[in-house]
Amino acid sequence: MKTQILTKRYINGLWIILILLMIPLYRVIGQDRTADINIEFHEDDEIKLITATIMETFGDSLGAPVPDLDVYFYVERTFNPLPIGDIFNTTDEEGKVTIEFPADLPGDSLGNVNLIVKIQESDEFADAEISRVINWGVPLEMDDRDSRRSLWAAGANAPIPLMILVNSLILIVWSIIIYMVYELYKISKM
């Protein structure tokens, strides 16, 4: 019996895979427009607002505002960036979207946070990103308990009275032991 490698079912499968691969390719090719992100910060009665304005760009020149575009806001953290705002933050007719900055977000020791605003995975616009440092975070008081001298700190940070006590005891007892060994040496020479 003749072996048939390229069966009809197999060829159909290959077509499906090819079409599935084309979808993300189409999405990337489809993102042929570019946009500029501009951020403004407003502080009003302890409410902190961030407004991002999205304008279409043509080379170096700015075009019209971009409405109905999802914009993503993040604050940089130690590991992954933390999303802030609503789940979807969509621009209005003027290409603007405003979100409230959380009041309790820790910053660095001075309260600085790095805000990142992104256009990502849009059907029409290429990914874009902008970041700004703003002094809106809660200043972080560094927990220096580990670096203070204590019973639970690292060996290098042992309490000084404990070190003096333990080392003195060791020194006293072992000095007596060494003295006794010396006496034994003297006995052997008598």
Binding site: L162, I170, E183, L184, K189
Partner: protein, 448 residues
């Protein structure tokens, strides 16, 4: 305590010449009896089985033991605490009794020092056996935190080991010189060994003066070090947040238990040494009688601390602490707990109150009960507490909830016990079990 001890009068030694006393106390050294050989073979076989079990532990890791995340200290640590406790007997007899002017205990000095040295050596060994990575032992010194009681314990054990050795060795010097000069029918290596370790001892008055001076310093110094070693061992537990260990009573509780156990240990050693070395004239009925009284006194002190240790928590029965107490009083550890308290503690006190019971054989049996009770007590201190953590693990494996030691653990522990007996046997075989020169001096046969 010292008042009680000083009232116990000095014991008459046999009316013999110096040479006769010397002969009585060293006759056994060149002799190799059949019993001795069989005893040594028996101990070596146990040691070899233990060595094989330890090889398996090194090869496959601590998984060959029954220790898991909950019971992370098993019978190795029970044995460790037991031996540290036993080693305190050196300071009890050689130092506390001597400083209390209890001259009757002179013949027991060396036995207690030998037991102490053997116990502390084996305590040091078993603690290394308990380590998953013994090759990293030196890290304790290189990277240890001075705040950790484990580091204090390592330091104090090393110190006590050296002090115990000196406490045995220094008063032994005149007797080693005696063996060097008197024993001619022994192998050459043994003659050479005595010659080297005798440190050129010539029985000169200034040499005697010198060893008396350093023995005096040692006698005083060993007391705080002995208290420290067992108190720090108790702090290994007291500073760990577990039910049953969270107690301010633990230091004196451990120390008093150690003295009781050590006293029983000496009585057992006295019995066999008196019997096999034919020393009935030196270790007399009076010695057994006095040691019996001492055991009662020490047991009463330990009973007092036991009541303190259990009354408070059992009255309150708070949370996990209550679970732990219930487990001991009526749970799966109850038979062991009540054996320890009744057979191993209360019964010996009651029996030893009778003079007729303070004779060698009944005292041997009672001391064996005390020793068994004392070992089980260390088991009860270590294991049930670990099985009731304050922060239990979710969906914990069933095997974590119980601890039944594996054959490897029993074999290694038995080898450790055999190790203590082997060291004591070798020391007794090499040196007089009773200090010849001190006995002679006490009889006024030799003035230095």
């Amino acid at each position: 305590m010292s008042e009680v001890l000083t009232k116990i009068e000095s014991i008459d030694l046999p009316d013999k010449s110096l040479k006769e006393i010397q002969d009585d106390l060293i006759w056994h050294i060149p002799v190799r009896t059949r019993t001795f050989k069989l005893w040594m073979i028996f101990l070596i076989i146990i040691l070899l089985i233990g060595t094989f079990a330890y090889y398996r532990q090194l090869r496959y890791g601590l998984i060959v033991t029954a220790m898991r995340d909950y019971t992370s200290w098993g019978i190795y640590i029970s044995n460790f605490v037991f031996y540290v406790a036993l080693s305190l007997v050196g300071s009890l007899v050689s130092s506390i009794l001597r400083l209390s002017n209890a001259k009757w205990a002179t013949p027991l000095n060396r036995i207690s020092e030998m037991v102490a040295v053997a116990a502390i050596i084996c305590a040091s060994i078993i603690i290394v056996v308990d380590m998953g990575r013994p090759d990293r032992f030196m890290y304790l010194f290189l990277y240890g935190r001075i705040q950790s009681p484990i580091v204090w314990d390592v330091i104090i054990i090393a110190t006590y080991l050296v002090i115990s050795f000196l406490l045995l060795y220094i008063p032994l010097l005149p007797d080693i010189a005696l063996l060097r000069d008197r024993l001619k029918n022994i192998p050459r290596w043994q003659q050479k060994f005595y010659r080297i370790i005798a440190l050129n001892w010539r029985h000169k008055p200034e040499q005697y003066k010198s060893i008396k001076k350093i023995s005096g310093i040692l006698m005083i110094m060993v007391i705080p070090v002995a208290f420290a070693i067992h108190t720090i061992t108790s702090w290994l537990f007291a500073t760990t947040w577990r039910p049953g260990w969270d107690s301010t009573n633990l230091g004196p509780y451990f120390v008093s238990g150690a003295f009781m156990l050590g006293c029983a240990g000496i009585i057992i050693a006295m019995y066999f040494i008196q019997k096999y070395l034919k020393l009935k004239e030196y270790i007399t009925q009076k010695h057994f009688d006095n040691m019996g009284k001492l055991l009662v006194l020490l047991s009463l002190v330990y009973l007092y601390f036991n009541i303190n240790e259990y009354l408070g928590p059992s009255f309150k029965m708070v949370g996990v602490e209550g679970e732990h107490i219930t487990e001991l009083f009526t749970g799966s550890y109850a038979p062991m707990y009540w054996f320890v308290q009744i057979i191993g503690l209360i019964l010996p006190i009651l029996i030893l109150l009778f003079r007729r019971m303070r004779t060698p054989f009944p005292m041997l049996i009672i001391s064996l009960l005390v020793i068994v009770g004392a070992w089980l007590k260390r088991f009860l201190i270590v294991i049930p507490s670990l099985q009731h953590p304050y922060l239990p693990i979710q969906d914990v494996d069933e095997s974590y909830m119980h601890y039944i030691p594996t054959w490897e653990e029993w074999a290694i522990n038995s080898a450790n016990v055999a190790g203590v007996l082997l060291i004591i046997t070798i020391l007794i075989k090499l040196f007089p079990a009773i200090p010849v020169w001190e006995v002679a001096e006490e009889k006024g046969l030799k003035k230095h």
